[in-house]
Amino acid sequence: MVAAPVDQVRTLYRTLLVFAAVSLFILVAGLVEFAYFEPPGQHTGLKATIVGVYQYDPDHKTTAGPDRNSFPRTFQFAAVVDWSSLPKNVVVDARWYDGFGNVVGSVGPGTPDQLAGQTIVPVKVPPGFSHNLPGHYVFVVERYEGGAPVEVIGRRVVLVER
C-alpha cells in the first residue's frame, strides 16, 4: 500500500499558524502590559488646578507674561500648579514630556503639602542644546498608587514652534 503524498503547502500553512500563535502571545503580552500601566477603575474624578503655562526666567526662577499654548523655541517656559486644590492624602507628581516622549522637567512625587513650595515646573533645555526642541510638549499632573502613576488628574499640551 502506498501512502498519499503529503501536500507541502499544508506544511507552509501549519508553519504560518505556529508563527501566528506566537504572534498572538506577543499581542496578548502587549495588552497585559497596557493594562498594568493603565489599570482600569482608577478614575477618581480628582482634578489638579494647572494655573497656566508661562514664559520662565531661569535666573530668577519666576514666570512672566500671559498664559500661553505655544512658544518660540528660544523661549523657556514653565507650568504653574496650585497644589492646594488637591486632597492632602494623595501622592502626586508633575512632569513635562517633549515631542519624543522624554521627561524634560518634573517635581514630586509627594503629597500636595510636600510639593507646596514647588508650584513652578519648568521645562529644562536638553543637555548639549541651546534651545528647546520643537514639537508638542505635554504637561501632566499624575496621581500615584503603589509607587506608580495610575491616573492623570491635570493635563496641558503646549506647542514649541520651529
Partner: protein
C-alpha cells in the same frame, strides 16, 4: 473530471470571478477612507495643511484612474494592453510625484525647505531601488513583472501612508488626552502603528491577489509583493523622518547628522528588517491562501499573515525602549544588535517561509516540466528539463545564446524560458485545481512557447 466541469472550464467567455467584486469593494472602501481623510484634514488642520490635503484628492483620483486602467489592461487585447499599461503607469507616476510634492509642502517645506526634502528623497531612492531589485530576484523560478512590483511599492509609499495619516493622528490625539504618559502610552502607540499601518499596507497585497491572480502564484510571490509594499512605505516614512528631524535639529547644527542617522537606520540597517519584513508576512499569508482548498482555510491563512505582521511591527515599536542606546564607544554595535535581536527573529521566520516556498515551487515545476516533456507537445523537450529546473543553468544557456547570436538571441531565449516556466506554473495550478481560467489558456501558453521556439530557431 466530470463533463460538466470540463465544459465550464473550456468556456472561453468565462464569468467574471467573484473576487473582482471583492477587489472593487475594497478599492472603493479605501478610496472613501482617503477622501474622508483629506476632508477631515481640511476641516480640522491648520490652513496650509488643510489646503494641501484637499489637493491630495487629486492624487487619490489619479491613483484610482491609474489602477482602473491598469487592471482593465490585463484583460485586454495585447495590441491595446501596452498602451493602457503605459497610461496607468503615467497616472500612478503622476500621483506618486504629486503626493511626494504634497508631503513636502504639507509637512516639511515650511520648516526644512523643499531642497532638504528633495535631497532626502534622492538619498532614499537608490537604497529602495536596491531593495526592490533584491526582493524581485529572490523569486528565482519566476520573477514577478517589474510593473507589478513597482505598483506594489507605489501603493505602499503613496496610498498606505495616506490611509494611516489621519487614523494614527486621531489615535495619538486621543491617547495624549486620556492616557498616563509612559510605557502604557508607548504600548498604545505601538498598537496604533502595528494595526493601522499593516492593515493599510496589507490591503494593497490583498488587492493584488484578488485582481492579478495570474501573477500571484504562491507564498514566494506573496512575500515578494508584500516586501515591495513594505519597501515603498519605508521609502516615504524615511523621507518623512529624515526631513522632520533635520528641521528639528538644524538650528543646533546637527540637522544633517540627525537626518543621516535616520537614513542609515531606515534605508540600510532597517531596509529589509523593518516594513519589508512585516508586510512580507501579509504577503506570505495571502500567498499560502492562494493554494489552499477551502475558503475557511484561506481566510485563516490571510488573518494569520496579518496577525504576524502586526505583532512584528508592534513588538519593535512597543519594546524598543527595552534596549536603550547609550552614547558610548559601543553605540554603533548596540544599534545593530538591537535591530538584530528585535526584528531578526521575524526576518528569519519570513526567510524560512520563503525557502520552504521556493523548495515546494521548484519541486512542482520540475514535476510539471517532466510531464509536459512526456506529453510530446513540443513546448518542452526532454533534454531541456534539467536546464529549466535550474535557474543557474538557464542563465548559462542564455549566456551561450548571447555569445552565439548576440543580445537578440539572449532576449528571445529568455522569453522562451519565461513562457516555459509560465506553462509549467499553469499546469501546476490546474493540477491542484487552483485556476479559474479556461483550459484554452493552457493551450494558448503552449502555442506561445512553440511560437517563441520557432522565433528563436529563425
Amino acid at each position: 473530471m466530470s463533463a460538466l466541469t470540463t465544459a465550464r472550464r473550456a468556456n472561453p467567455r468565462a464569468r467574471r470571478p467573484a473576487r473582482y467584486a471583492i477587489a472593487i469593494a475594497i478599492a472603493v472602501a479605501l478610496s472613501l477612507v482617503l477622501v474622508a481623510s483629506s476632508i477631515l484634514n481640511y476641516i480640522y488642520l491648520d490652513t496650509v495643511a488643510g489646503r494641501t490635503s484637499l489637493y491630495g484628492l487629486l492624487a487619490v483620483a489619479l491613483i484610482a484612474m491609474g489602477t482602473f486602467i491598469g487592471v482593465r489592461a490585463a484583460a485586454r487585447d495585447p495590441a491595446v494592453r501596452r498602451r493602457d499599461f503605459i497610461r496607468a503607469a503615467v497616472l500612478l507616476g503622476l500621483a506618486a510625484l504629486f503626493w511626494l510634492l504634497l508631503i513636502d509642502v504639507f509637512i516639511f517645506t515650511d520648516a526644512a525647505g523643499p531642497r532638504v526634502a528633495a535631497v532626502c528623497a534622492l538619498a532614499c531612492l537608490p537604497t529602495t531601488a536596491f531593495g526592490l531589485w533584491v526582493v524581485r530576484r529572490i523569486d528565482r523560478n519566476e520573477k514577478e513583472p517589474w510593473r507589478l512590483v513597482l505598483v506594489a511599492a507605489a501603493w505602499g509609499a503613496v496610498v498606505a501612508t495616506s490611509l494611516v495619516i489621519w487614523a494614527e493622528s486621531l489615535w495619538q490625539d486621543i491617547a495624549i488626552r486620556t492616557l498616563v504618559p509612559g510605557p502604557g502610552f508607548d504600548v498604545s502607540t505601538a498598537f496604533s502603528a502595528g494595526i493601522l499601518e499593516e492593515l493599510a499596507k496589507g490591503s494593497a497585497v490583498v488587492l493584488l491577489f484578488l485582481v492579478m491572480r495570474n501573477e500571484f502564484d504562491d507564498v514566494v510571490d506573496g512575500i515578494v509583493y508584500g516586501a515591495a509594499v513594505g519597501l515603498g512605505f519605508n521609502f516615504m516614512e524615511s523621507v518623512a523622518y529624515m526631513t522632520n528631524l533635520y528641521a528639528i535639529f538644524a538650528p543646533d547644527g546637527v540637522g544633517g547628522y540627525a537626518a543621516g542617522f535616520q537614513w542609515y537606520a531606515r534605508q540600510v540597517l532597517g531596509l529589509f528588517f523593518g516594513h519589508a519584513t512585516y508586510t512580507a508576512f501579509v504577503g506570505a499569508g495571502v500567498g499560502i491562501a492562494r493554494q489552499l482548498p477551502t475558503t475557511r482555510k484561506k481566510l485563516i491563512a490571510i488573518a494569520a499573515g496579518f496577525i504576524v505582521a502586526i505583532a512584528a511591527h508592534f513588538s519593535w515599536d512597543a519594546w524598543i525602549n527595552l534596549f536603550p542606546i547609550v552614547q558610548n564607544n559601543f553605540l554603533i554595535l548596540e544599534i545593530h544588535l538591537r535591530t538584530l535581536i528585535m526584528t531578526g527573529p521575524f526576518t528569519a521566520a519570513v526567510i524560512a517561509l520563503l525557502l520552504l516556498g521556493l523548495h515546494i515551487e521548484s519541486q512542482a515545476l520540475a514535476d510539471q516540466f517532466r510531464k509536459e516533456a512526456a506529453l510530446g507537445s513540443g513546448a518542452i523537450m526532454p533534454d531541456e528539463v534539467p536546464i529549466l529546473m535550474s535557474p543557474w543553468r538557464r542563465f548559462r544557456q542564455r549566456l551561450r545564446a548571447l555569445g552565439r547570436g548576440g543580445l537578440r538571441a539572449y532576449v528571445r531565449l529568455a522569453r522562451l524560458q519565461t513562457a516555459q516556466v509560465d506553462l509549467a506554473m499553469e499546469r501546476w495550478h490546474r493540477e491542484r485545481q487552483e485556476v479559474d481560467t479556461p483550459l484554452e489558456a493552457e493551450q494558448e501558453l503552449r502555442s506561445q512557447v512553440i511560437s517563441l521556439r520557432k522565433q528563436l530557431a529563425a
